[in-house]
């Protein structure tokens, strides 16, 4: 496992994607054939079911170390990862086991049906035969995420660098159906098991934020205006009765959205369309937070499908029956789309993005201001003569987002992050004034620099009220400006309000706690919408 262990060490230490890619390429150059296939399998989520429950592993670690549970949990909350905590507290190895990755995987698959006693014997022997880093990897091979920042995209970029094969084709190859026991590494990356012609996507065209006054854009009738939706930008490819959904990050996400595939399959013709994957229920767009609950799941339950149905709003047409449409003007592409999505195929879950009718630029101002009320994040302005360009390009398409709402709130709880952030307090809970006390209004974790996070973590260490456990109650002293996309009444929240997408805008070192918002001033924002 030495190669694999070195690869993980090289990847985890850097946050530069190129360095990760280079480490992967080096690994692919030297690793045994079967190990390479397992690596691809593991990092694309194709993993065998967990053979040993994590709770058992924890119990066995207590038995070996004779540490009290509270001390183990204290260690766990410092490390932030169970597999790593176990790897760190175990005594030094007594012997040396050196097996390649694929042998470990084969053994772990065989371990699944065995008795608890046999499992224990196997795991304890492995722990006693591996160094710390290898032990950690072994624990991760049993189950759990590596959390080292390798996405499918990173993986295919490495394979592409290694082989010279197009990255999107490789994405299709590794996502496609293949059996680790029946395919060679060469065949897998050459895509012998797929037909890339059926899935090949186009690069996305991305808009810049509007940076001029509306009248400077020209005449209103030269522009197509739509709502900007806050879901996942997606491209659907339908060719020869095969359907593929690509995300903007050029990952294949087809299997996550079975209801979109079903709706698309009812349509005739071959085409490639651009649009937005959205949680849609009762003809309304749900919050991104809801959509998020549907993402990256291994199994999508029936309950999930009913609670958070996912649909697709179509923005554009890139290919029509084999013909590349990208250079045709937007208005023509739109006309063809209207044919495609004419009745009886159009439904609330699959429909064209509505074009906003307007005569004067001024009338857009109110529409944008009120976009939040329908969970839209603003407007998109597209020049009717524009082609569908590659990448980010200024001039033809603009996004015009609503300004976020903001409040000043005080931090009352801090919790450590995960992965790269597991050593610092990065997740905070904020409160505003309510009478003489405080009431929680939001939890947020992004938007600060590493330097600020380090400073706050040090402050939390000094000012925490509890001494044990993962969550620290802190003195209500640090004030932050919290930005959010929307606000609504909520019975589920103690404060009576729910913020949409709260995030830290900045640390208000200049503001004392006495000047933070009150629950009344926060609630007033709902009325003002």
């Amino acid at each position: 496992m030495k190669n694999f262990s070195e690869l993980i060490s090289a990847i985890e230490i850097t946050n530069k994607t190129n360095a990760k890619i280079d480490a992967l390429v080096n690994y692919f150059k030297v690793a045994p054939e079967k190990d390479k296939l397992w690596l691809i399998s593991i990092f694309t989520g194709k993993r065998p079911p967990r053979p040993v429950k994590s709770n058992l592993m924890k119990q066995w670690a207590f038995e070996i170390t004779k540490l009290p549970e509270w001390l183990f949990l204290e260690s766990y909350s410092t490390v932030g990862d169970l597999g790593e905590t176990i790897a760190l507290i175990l005594p030094d190895p007594t012997h040396k086991i050196d097996k390649p990755l694929h042998v470990w995987m084969r053994e772990l698959i065989a371990l699944k049906p065995k008795s608890e006693e046999e499992k224990k014997e196997y795991v304890l022997n492995a722990w006693a035969g591996l160094e710390m880093q290898e032990r950690l990897i072994f624990n991760k091979l049993i189950g759990g995420s590596f959390r080292i920042g390798v996405s499918k995209k990173t993986l295919v970029n490495a394979l592409s660098k290694l082989s010279g094969i197009d990255a999107n084709q490789l994405m299709h190859s590794i996502i496609g159906n293949w059996d680790i026991n029946k395919i060679s590494f060469e065949d897998l990356i050459n895509g012998s098991h797929i037909n890339y012609d059926n899935s090949k996507p186009y690069p996305f065209f991305l808009a810049y934020a509007l940076e001029k006054e509306l009248p400077e854009l020209g005449q209103p009738e030269e522009w197509q205006v739509e709502y900007k939706w806050d879901g996942i930008r997606g491209q659907i490819v339908k060719r020869n009765n095969e359907i593929y959904i690509w995300s903007r990050g050029e990952e294949l996400v087809t299997e996550q959205f079975p209801e979109i595939v079903e709706n698309i399959s009812k349509l005739e013709n071959d085409f490639v369309i651009d649009g937005e994957i959205l949680a849609l229920k009762d003809s309304a767009v749900l919050l991104f937070n809801d959509l998020q609950k549907r993402l990256n799941r291994k199994n999508i339950t029936k309950k999930m499908l009913e609670e958070i149905p996912v649909g697709f709003y179509v923005y554009d047409l890139l290919e029509w029956n084999g013909e590349d449409y990208r250079e045709k003007p937007l208005e023509e592409r739109r006309r063809t789309l209207e044919q495609l999505l004419a009745k009886p195929f159009v439904s609330e879950q699959l429909k064209l993005s509505e074009v906003i009718q307007f005569k004067k630029w001024e009338s857009l101002i109110d529409l944008r201001e009120n976009a939040r009320s329908i969970n839209s994040e603003g407007l998109m302005l597209k020049q009717k003569k524009s082609g569908y360009h590659v990448g980010r390009k200024k001039g033809d398409w603009w996004k015009w987002k609503v300004d976020p709402l903001t409040i000043d709130a005080v931090m009352i709880y801090a919790q450590k992050g995960s992965g790269r952030r597991s050593s610092k307090y990065t997740d905070y809970t904020f409160a505003v004034k309510k009478g003489d006390g405080l009431v929680t209004v939001a939890k947020a974790y992004s938007g600060l620099t590493d330097v600020e996070i380090t400073e706050i973590s040090r402050w939390v260490n000094k000012n925490a009220i509890e001494k044990f456990g993962p969550v620290r109650t802190v003195k209500a002293e640090l004030v932050f400006e919290i930005a959010f996309e929307g606000i609504a009444y909520s019975k589920r929240h103690k404060s009576g309000v729910a913020l949409r997408f709260p995030r830290i805008k900045r640390w208000r070192k200049d503001k004392p706690v006495s000047e933070i918002d009150t629950i009344e001033s926060v609630t007033a924002l709902i009325e003002a919408q």
Binding site: T14, P68, T78, V79, D81, L88, S423, R458
Partner: protein
């Protein structure tokens, strides 16, 4: 323990009328070692080990009033006998033993039980009251041996050289830098930052031999240092000086690097768990060897470590001090600003 009191200014010896590593200015301070959180400026009089004297003068000013003594000596101050025992933390670091009317108190300052190549190794001292640090007081902290670390660091440098890279180690001027120097000694030329060079000179002036190093000049020639080894203070991470180093591979050496999240947080090229503090088993063995009736636990995991000691039958209490807050942070920042030329 009747003759020691914990005050706002620091740990006070009542009959002796002196303080141990006080964090606010006092008349008489006995100092365990030269790190900024243990030897602060503003005291009227300092007393420390011979090997720390030059370091303190270098850091706090040549005009401070300071006296020192060696290991096997005793000084009676107001009927309290004071003696020093090696703490194995950094050069000049000691545990301070106080005896008054047959009652013995040992204050460890910071310490490390595992021997290294450069500091006097830790010695256990029996006492009634043991005041211990707890920087790494969790069972997840277990250090590799000095020989294993030596192999790890040297392999990293050799690998960098094979990839045409310059190895840069980040370590505090006092302690970590000399430790790194001793671990990589002999493989290639080692350049050190001004702050480290100045400290090395102070240490050498006390007659202590250090591995050979060369001063890294502000206007260094890139050709000279390509593929060589550089040691600089951690405050210089992200500095212009570091950016000018050709093909730099940067490593942090610190006990915190034991945890993956910490290694990844800094976004450097390598993190080695090289610590000047005792690991979990080191702390436990020191406490047990002291045979103390009462243990006071200072900076670090004081709540956890004292709770655990009580559970295994050793009476312990946590003690809130002002030590251990990103030691030397202010000093290293100063180094940084002068380096950004």
């Amino acid at each position: 323990m009747k003759f020691i009191k914990f005050t706002k200014k620091g740990i006070y010896c009542i009959p002796g009328k002196f303080y141990l590593d006080p964090w606010l200015p006092v008349d008489h301070a006995i100092i365990s070692h030269g790190h900024a959180d243990h030897s602060r400026s503003g005291n009227k009089h300092y007393f420390c080990h011979d090997d720390s004297k030059a370091i303190l003068k270098h850091r706090l000013g040549a005009d401070i009033s300071i006296e020192s003594m060696g290991y096997n000596q005793t000084r009676i101050i107001n009927n309290v006998s004071v003696s020093f025992y090696p703490a194995g933390h950094v050069i000049g670091s000691v545990q301070i033993r106080l005896e008054y009317k047959g009652e013995v108190v040992v204050f460890t300052g910071d310490y490390k039980t595992q021997p290294d190549f450069i500091t006097d190794p830790f010695e256990s001292v029996k006492c009634h009251t043991f005041i211990t640090e707890s920087t790494f007081g969790l069972p997840i902290y277990n250090w590799k041996t000095e020989l294993q670390l030596q192999e790890q660091l040297q392999n990293w440098v050799l690998q960098n050289q094979a990839n045409n890279k310059t190895s840069v180690f980040l370590g505090y001027s006092l302690g970590k830098s000399q430790r790194i120097m001793s671990l990589i000694d002999g493989i290639d030329k080692v350049y050190v930052h001004t702050a480290i060079n100045n400290l090395n000179n102070a240490i050498s002036s006390s007659g202590i031999a250090l591995p050979e190093t060369t001063l890294l000049k502000q206007d260094f020639d890139k050709k000279d240092i390509q593929n060589k080894i550089i040691i600089m203070p951690p405050g210089l991470l992200g500095s212009r000086l570091l950016k000018r180093v050709p093909n730099a591979a940067v490593a942090i050496c610190s006990g915190w690097m034991q945890i993956r999240g910490n290694r990844r947080w800094k976004a450097v090229d390598a993190g080695f768990a090289v610590s000047d503090h005792a690991d979990w088993n080191g702390l436990l063995s020191a406490v047990k060897a002291s045979e103390a009736e009462k243990v006071y636990v200072t900076h670090g995991s004081q709540a956890t470590f004292s709770k655990y000691l009580n559970e295994i039958g050793i009476a312990a209490e946590e003690l809130i001090t002002d030590y251990g807050d990103e030691q030397l942070a202010s000093e290293e920042k100063k180094d940084n600003s002068t380096a950004n030329v």
